[in-house]
């Protein structure tokens, strides 16, 4: 049900989202348009990957983002050398150390729990039974004395609210230590 390309996108592109959003926010005046631009960037990247997956996902993603911003400026007729020169160069993004998104696991659980706590009461109860206790939707319906259809609707609502609550919180940057023997050394810092 999940194609190899979809898996690639989830694995290689989506984890870069906080970095991509930062890049767009720094370089785009109207912040309310950023989610829209991000979505367009994703579509272009996915379209391109349908033909051939980029060799360097990160480089490709930021190149697409930059070109897309330039296109949009051009369409608005506000393009000037200054506005383009102001963009962070792709090089600057590339030179950032290749940080791995280590998630401090306990912090991650706390972030998720905080997001669940903010859900409306019924939504929260459904999510608690489904994700913490691990019951199926049918079992959740039985326990709460509501129909399965209602549970399904609550799940749909919950996932959209969670997306908003978790936005930009993906992972915590710790450090880029790659070797297996060195990896654990970073923990003592």
């Amino acid at each position: 049900m999940e194609s190899e390309l979809e898996q690639w996108f989830a694995r290689e592109i989506l984890p870069l989202e906080p970095m991509l959003e930062g890049y767009l926010r720094r370089n785009w005046r109207d912040q309310s348009e950023v989610p829209d631009i991000r979505q367009d960037v994703y579509i272009r990247v996915y379209e391109a990957a349908l033909r051939e997956k980029p060799f360097n996902s990160k480089h490709f993603l930021f190149q697409v983002a930059r070109n897309l911003m330039i296109d949009r400026l051009r369409r608005k007729n506000v393009v000037s050398f200054d506005s383009i020169a102001d963009f962070d160069t792709i090089g600057a993004v590339e030179e950032l150390p290749d940080l791995e998104r280590w998630t401090a696991a306990r912090q991650e659980v706390r972030i998720l729990m905080d997001a669940v706590k903010k859900l409306p009461p019924r939504c929260r109860e459904v999510m608690t039974l489904r994700k913490i206790d691990g019951f199926s939707q049918r079992e959740v319906a039985e326990k709460m004395g509501i129909t399965e259809d209602t549970v399904e609707r609550q799940v749909s609502k919950a996932v959209r609210l969670l997306e908003k609550a978790l936005h930009g919180t993906r992972g915590v940057l710790v450090s880029g230590v790659r070797r297996r023997m060195g990896r654990l050394g970073l923990l003592s810092k």
Binding site: M1, E6, F9, A10, R11, E12, L14, P15, D36, Q39, Y42, I43, Y46, E47, L50, E100, R101, W102, T103, A104, A105, R106, E108, V109, L112, M113, V116, M127, R130, K131, I132, D133, G134, S136, Q137, R138, E148, V151, E152, R153, V155, S156, K157, V159, R160, L162, E163, L166, R170, V174, R178, R179, R180, M181, G182, R183, L184, L187, S188
Partner: protein, 313 residues
């Protein structure tokens, strides 16, 4: 509501339907919806990532009471406690205790070994590894004293499979995973399924974490870090099982550390040569190929002396 919000609503509805369970017809309609536009697909993948991320909340599930906390050096007592917990009040405790079996398995430096347990679980030991297994009717426990082991567990909900490594307890939730231990540092690589990792230091109140497939968990003292990895990297990390080591443009000093795990004769890299980056795959026990490559390919000095090989510019 704009068009993008609409698509997000549809994607969330699909996700909820899939989570409830789709029949063949449902799968076909979903595929049709996804095929209709790339935006559908991307929106769905984003929400699915959030939904899967929430799986980590399973870490807050209260541990099942039948899982005891075995203590270092007291495995018989632990097995007994497990059996007694299961059979509390039934009067069969005595027999169960005597049905539990305990064994020790060890590999020397450079050696590897496969073990089949009575329940069908396969364990592969890497170089310089020591484990103790303890099988009782209520729980299966492996204590990893040192080194690295890969587990392909036959899941049994009524008989948990638990690995104790240092102050971490790794509980199988139906899976294949490896555990590496070096003193107080523990690293868990999950290839399939899920595992739960708890801190078992007495008095610790740290919440356990749940790691899914293609995740590496690193633990030291009470710190626990997790990172998701592409499947290919996970495969590479586990290639030692076929005797191969794979390096991807890594520092020579780090490569030497890794190779030294497998060989009695140690390689020491000194000076600027430590930072040379090399890639490729080697048989873990065939150091000669590497030495030849460094001598001829990188023009480094390779000097064998006593039980060590020194590499320098």
């Amino acid at each position: 509501m704009n068009e993008r919000d609409n698509i997000e609503k549809e994607a969330a509805d699909w996700l909820a339907r899939i989570d409830r369970g789709l029949d063949d017809q449902g799968v076909a309609s979903f595929e049709q919806w996804k095929a209709a536009s790339i935006e559908h697909r991307i929106t769905f993948i984003r929400l699915q990532t959030v939904w899967r991320r929430a799986d980590r909340l399973a870490a807050l599930r209260r541990p099942r009471p039948e899982i005891p906390r075995p203590q270092v050096g007291l495995k018989w007592l632990a097995a007994m406690a497990a059996a007694l917990l299961i059979c509390a009040g039934s009067g069969f405790g005595y027999f169960w205790v005597h049905k539990s079996t305990s064994q020790r398995f060890e590999t020397a430096v450079g050696a590897q070994r496969s073990i089949s347990l009575a329940d069908g679980t396969q364990i592969e030991l890497n170089t310089n590894t020591l484990i103790h297994t303890s099988m009782s009717p209520g729980i299966r426990t492996v204590k990893l004293d040192r080194g690295q082991a890969y587990f392909d567990v036959v899941h049994d909900a009524h008989r948990p499979f638990v690995v104790i490594a240092g102050n971490r307890r790794i509980t199988d939730l139906g899976t294949k995973f490896s555990v590496f231990r070096d003193g107080d540092r523990v690293e868990v690589i999950v290839k399939e399924g899920q595992v739960r990792v708890d801190v078992i230091t007495p008095g610790s109140s740290d919440a356990p974490v749940v790691a899914e497939r293609n995740t590496i968990v690193m633990a030291r003292n009470t710190e626990t870090l997790m990172v998701a990895k592409p499947q290919q990297e996970i495969e590479n990390e586990l290639l030692w099982r076929s005797g191969m080591l794979v390096f991807n443009q890594e520092r020579l000093a780090d490569v030497a550390d890794e190779i030294n795990r497998y060989n009695v004769r140690k390689i020491e890299v000194v000076g600027a040569a430590r930072d040379i980056r090399i890639g490729g795959s080697f048989r873990a026990d065939n150091v000669d190929v590497l030495k030849q490559l460094l001598r001829d390919g990188f023009r480094l000095k390779v000097v064998d002396e006593g039980d060590k090989t020194t590499i320098s510019n």
